[in-house]
Amino acid sequence: MTELAQPASRRRNWRSAGLWIGGTIVGLVLFCALFAPLLAPHDPFAQDLTRRFLPPYWMEGTDPAHKLGTDGLGRDYLSRLIYGTRISMLIGIMTVITSGLIGISLGVVGGFFGGRVDDVVLFIITCRLSIPVVLVALAVVGLLGSSLTLVVLTLGLLLWERFAVVARSTTMQVRHLDFVSAAWCAGASRPWILLREVLPNITSHLVVVATLEMALAILLEAALSFLGLGVPPPAPSWGVMITEAKEYMFFSPWVIMIPGVALFVLVLGINLLGDGLRDFLRTGETS
């Protein structure tokens, strides 16, 4: 008995390690975003052309006032990195809210009513899937001009399909369960049942989708900004930082390493958190 139980518990330990690591990373980034003005040692927009490309602290010729060095305009890299968390987190959270509203409404309605309504919902999801996201996002921002609001709106309107798929399938599972039938018998209205009976019972699945979408939105924003069609400079978006540093990367690779590693670690953290939450919620359901 104990022999059989051991691998499962070990796996759980490993998974919960992922949950903790992911949670810590996301928590730290969120902290940086909230308290950026207190944490950043310099103004992220202040230029000093006499102090361009100071190397970070682990290299030679560094300046202790600039722990991570300075960029091509002499702006403090650490400060820009810290302020950059604001853009990434804002994009991630706002996109998840927008796409979550669209996707969950569609999915719950389709899964709950079934039949023709569900056919329409499935059709909308299929249409959305066939649209090349990156291309359309680039085209929209290219046409309407780059701004943070527009990036959030575009990504929110494009990235809802996973919410819809998961909300739809989980609603289908829930709607035939006893407590929903009981609510019907008790004379509850449709909106009441949808909001008070169905939605709370599919939330755990949706939370996991939210982490995945947040990671995707942050990656896409960085990619759009990198191509010059996302958040416009001089905003310290990590994508903008990488694109500004691109010209110099062959001479001093650290200029693209610092924002790139930050982006990678944040996305990894969000994914770890999502994976960990999924397992945590799954074990919670079975026990």
Partner: protein
């Protein structure tokens, strides 16, 4: 089977029609197209000339119908910037993007199939965990950043591969690797879970009882069954990859359809932009249709859906 086929085809056609409309609407988002085409320094007279020349003075519905009608027979009009037929432009660039997509898919399959099988066979061991961590890392890697890292590593420091451009096969290696990265996590996870499910099935126990070799059980019996969803997802992934190659093509200056789209967006060349959106969407619709049909042939249970 016939009913399934017809239904699936009708849905595919309806989706195509919707995408057609969306591609048209996309370019009308900015309001007045003529102002955008004429450029920031144009006078009112110039704008009026442009509006006449491109038929933008007609009612929107007429513009829509005329564009749709022509698009259906493969005529996307003329590029504003290149002064060439859009269809010719896309036709010239498409082989490059398709090659890149296939290279990416092959690299992704070569890496993710063995990894997925290995993880499934050694389920719950250290190897399984390492494979899952590799998938997580792949998922978190920003593709545009990976492009730059490969350029520095293979292009500059090792000098093995050209940093950018189009031409020889060597230009496809680095973009192919980056593109593969986007598909490896999903394919590895799917192979792993499919293999775990297949290895637990009754027919595997039967095969074991018959005394077949481990390798034969693994490859002939389990993998064949686990491969069905992987093939389907691989087709879908190829569609995503063609759409996602725009970033990679732009960075490596690989002159495929993605690069064309990026140039056209930067130059307000709307006929090209809407045509590329449409063509990529149609390719994706075709690929998913093909995947569904292959699945239905392989697994009769799916035909009811």
């Amino acid at each position: 089977m016939l009913r399934f086929l017809v239904r699936r085809l009708i849905v595919a056609l309806l989706v195509t029609a919707t995408v057609l409309t969306l591609a048209f609407a996309l370019t009308r988002l900015s309001g007045d197209l003529a102002i955008s085409i004429a450029g920031p320094n144009a006078t009112d007279r110039d704008v009026e000339l442009v509006r006449k020349a491109y038929g933008l003075d007609r009612p929107l519905i007429i513009q829509y119908l005329s564009w749709t009608g022509r698009a259906l027979i493969g005529d996307f009009g003329e590029s504003y910037f290149f002064k060439q037929r859009v269809a010719t432009l896309i036709g010239d660039r498409m082989p490059i993007t398709l090659t890149l997509g296939l290279v990416g898919l092959v690299i992704a399959l070569v890496i993710s199939l063995p990894l997925g099988i290995l993880a499934a066979v050694r389920e719950g061991t250290l190897i399984d965990r390492i494979v899952q961590i590799v998938a997580l890392v792949g998922q978190a890697m920003p593709s545009f950043w990976l492009c730059l890292l490969l350029m520095i590593g293979f292009g500059l420091q090792l000098g093995w591969l050209p940093i950018s451009g189009t031409g020889s096969w060597e230009h496809y290696v680095m973009p192919g690797i980056v593109l593969a990265f986007s598909a490896i996590p999903a394919l590895t996870r799917l192979t792993r879970s499919g293999m775990i499910q297949a290895l637990g099935a009754d027919y595997i126990r039967t095969a074991r009882a018959k005394g077949l070799s481990r390798l034969s059980i693994l490859l002939k019996h389990a993998l064949r069954n686990a491969a069905i969803p992987v093939v389907a997802i691989a087709a879908v992934q190829l569609g995503f990859m063609l759409g996602g190659s725009i970033v990679i093509e732009t960075i490596f200056a690989l002159h495929g359809v993605g690069y064309l789209a990026w140039e056209s967006i930067a130059k307000n060349d709307f006929p090209v932009v809407q045509a590329v959106v449409l063509v990529l969407a149609v390719i994706y619709i075709g690929l998913t249709l093909a995947a569904d049909l292959v699945n239905a042939v392989l697994d009769p249970r799916l035909r009811g859906a």
